[in-house]
Subunit: 395 residues, 2 copies
């Protein structure tokens, strides 16, 4: 069997696996030390009661012949959930049709699988630093990857580069890893770029519910023209604590024009119905509950809790005089390493001297060198302890 | 954005969607008629009590901060479930390592996604008639598709064709759509072909638990040499009624030799960890329960019930003097249409005159013309009624 040689283009070890391995080795060598992990962006609060109730009810339906559910008719999900997602967009002031919503098992799957729809020699334009999966999935597919570097001066908001003729553009806001949020003008510039270059924007809004500053866009579809050039990929993972429940959604407008005469909505429908069989019924009911008024109240309180953690981190960094972005409308804090240390050097020092785990910024791309990402998921006392240890270490 | 032009190679409408549309149109025009669906292969029995209990317990774990689970460390699934799958193979007399098992959201996803590992001009050798997703996924990927036609004379067991130099070979046993089960000699011939041609066998064992005749292989790994040339893709869908729960597994041996120096186990691990984030914790606990002694007893009783349905169909066809395969170790009955009718003609007649829905054999490939697939899922009284109506129609 001849294999896909493009797998040789990606680093053999995934960033988070490397971090996990280092932490594991440290813990094995130092079993008495308590390590606090602010590395991976995983939620820690249990599922909200409204969601738990919906899941128990759905499990009971599966136990009864009269209410049992087998295959969902469409891989894109039950209408009750697609309609709930469309209503959520309406509440954000954006118009999205029920048949433009595709339910998935998570943003990561859709981000990777959507590339099935692209030409094998497509050019992807990716801001640096960036969530590594954007890059790896494109490399695996044989695509050319071009970067736009974002910097501290611009608050890590990437700007379009008209000298690059891309097929795909990736924007994540609130951003992973930098925590930056793109303003309406920032997004409008990218929409203009996409329309000018017939490029498709893949907009990752997984952290949307962390936005609390009025006036910041919650969806790309708040921007005029985005309905012609953007798909939006999102997730219940951070919105409702679904990292272990697995549910997301992707919006593929029927009004897209940047793929010429190709109907991407139809192509994605075909891809999903051929290579996917939908999300568990129980999970779709859980997601519906997360979008219900009670579910939204309960999950908003959880996001508030994480934002409170982020405020603890940002206050600590302020006191240490360390530059950072994020924290405000995001679970991530993107800090510059003190004393001009490199990302991995500071990661190692923080692990060994303070038993605190961050994620090395350079793992998100060359422009991330000298930075570290801290995640505000976790328990308040741990966050406070981590900041206290970091202060002591740097004193 | 330049699109993947290979999507133009696939039929715009998926077989089962076409059937669904025809049935829906008939029901709209004839609201008083009761249609019995023996078309799609979807289970109808509710989840077994052991599975329901495990799911409720897992939901409760997700409600408590102390037992809540976020991301699974590895996209390939929790070790408790991979170990349970490995033990199941051991009970079948096959040796499979825990790190050779990858948990997925269903066989359909893995069948499609595994092609990410193959060269873009790979040649797939596919028996005809066949589950359409094998063909469509290969066409979408730009692969060349070659067929080996199976016939009534051979009991719809496909034989290798040494004149074709394939990268991939698909074998499904018990077969969808024909219900045929490959014997050890049949499989050994394919293993020999694969080793001779450096081809990878993709063995689909989704219907394995329907095998009741002693001596028939339950897994490709009962065949010597298969550990060097075969991956096995399976599912809890038919084994435990998981079509709406979504869980499957794929075995990728570390001992494979047919991809040259490429390590397919490592490549698949990388693919899954980059484009997938694992199966819901609750679903993995459900699958573990399905493999427990109590779960196996309860789900075996469900499979027995479906096999009883299949016996009703086969007895009816015997009485009508109609040739068929399957029914014995399979939920499918593959019948020749009476009076040399074409598949769609007989489908239409059966729908309009008897209000019974089958799946047209020609939808599974040219060699399926003149055949119809009946599924034994469903309730016994419906199956009996469907057979009585067919008898009356053909009398």
């Amino acid at each position: 069997m001849r294999v896909n040689e493009n797998f040789g283009r990606i680093e053999q070890s995934y960033l988070f696996s490397t971090v996990a391995r280092k932490v594991s080795a440290y813990k094995q060598a130092n079993p008495d030390k308590r390590v606090i992990r602010l590395g991976i962006g995983d939620v820690t609060e249990p599922l909200a009661p409204a969601i738990i109730d919906a899941m128990h009810a759905a499990v009971d339906e599966m136990a009864d012949k009269k209410t049992f559910r087998g295959y969902c008719d469409d891989a894109e999900g039950y209408e009750f959930l697609r309609a709930a997602v469309a209503e959520r967009y309406e509440s954000l002031g954006a118009e999205v049709g029920v048949d433009e919503v595709f339910i998935s098992d998570g943003a990561k799957s859709d981000l990777g699988n959507f590339l099935d729809l692209t030409a094998s020699d497509a050019v992807a334009l990716i801001p640096d630093p960036v969530y590594p999966a954007y890059v790896d999935t494109n490399l695996m597919n044989g695509h050319q990857v071009r970067y736009v570097h974002s910097t501290a001066e611009s608050g890590y908001i990437a700007k379009p580069d008209d000298s690059i003729d891309a097929d795909l553009v990736y924007i994540c806001s609130p951003n992973n890893p930098t925590g930056s949020v793109y303003g309406a003008d920032d997004l409008a510039a990218w929409v203009q770029y996409a329309l000018d270059h017939q490029a498709l924007i893949i907009f990752d809004s997984a952290y949307e519910t962390f936005i609390r500053t009025p006036g910041l866009p919650h969806t790309i579809y708040e921007i005029d023209g985005a309905e012609r050039c953007a798909v939006e990929i999102s997730s219940f993972s951070k919105m409702a604590g679904f990292t272990g429940v697995r549910c997301g959604f992707t919006v593929v407008p029927k009004t897209l024009t940047v793929a010429g005469s190709a109907d991407l909505n139809q192509m994605w429908r075909r891809r999903q119905n051929t290579k996917f069989n939908g999300v568990p019924y129980i999970v779709q009911r859980a997601a519906q509950a997360a979008l219900s008024p009670l579910g939204r109240t309960q999950t908003r309180a959880q996001v508030d809790y994480y934002l409170g953690n982020a405020a603890v981190i940002s206050q600590g960094l302020d006191e240490m005089g360390i530059f950072y972005t994020g924290a405000k409308n995001s679970p991530y804090v993107w800090m510059h390493c003190p004393d001009n240390m490199g990302s991995w050097d500071f990661f190692d020092r923080l692990l060994e001297e303070a038993q605190v785990v961050g994620t090395p910024g350079v793992g998100f791309g060359p422009a991330g060198e000298g930075c570290l990402r801290l995640s505000a998921f976790g328990q308040r006392p741990d966050i406070e302890e981590a900041i206290a240890r970091m202060k002591a270490m740097l004193a």
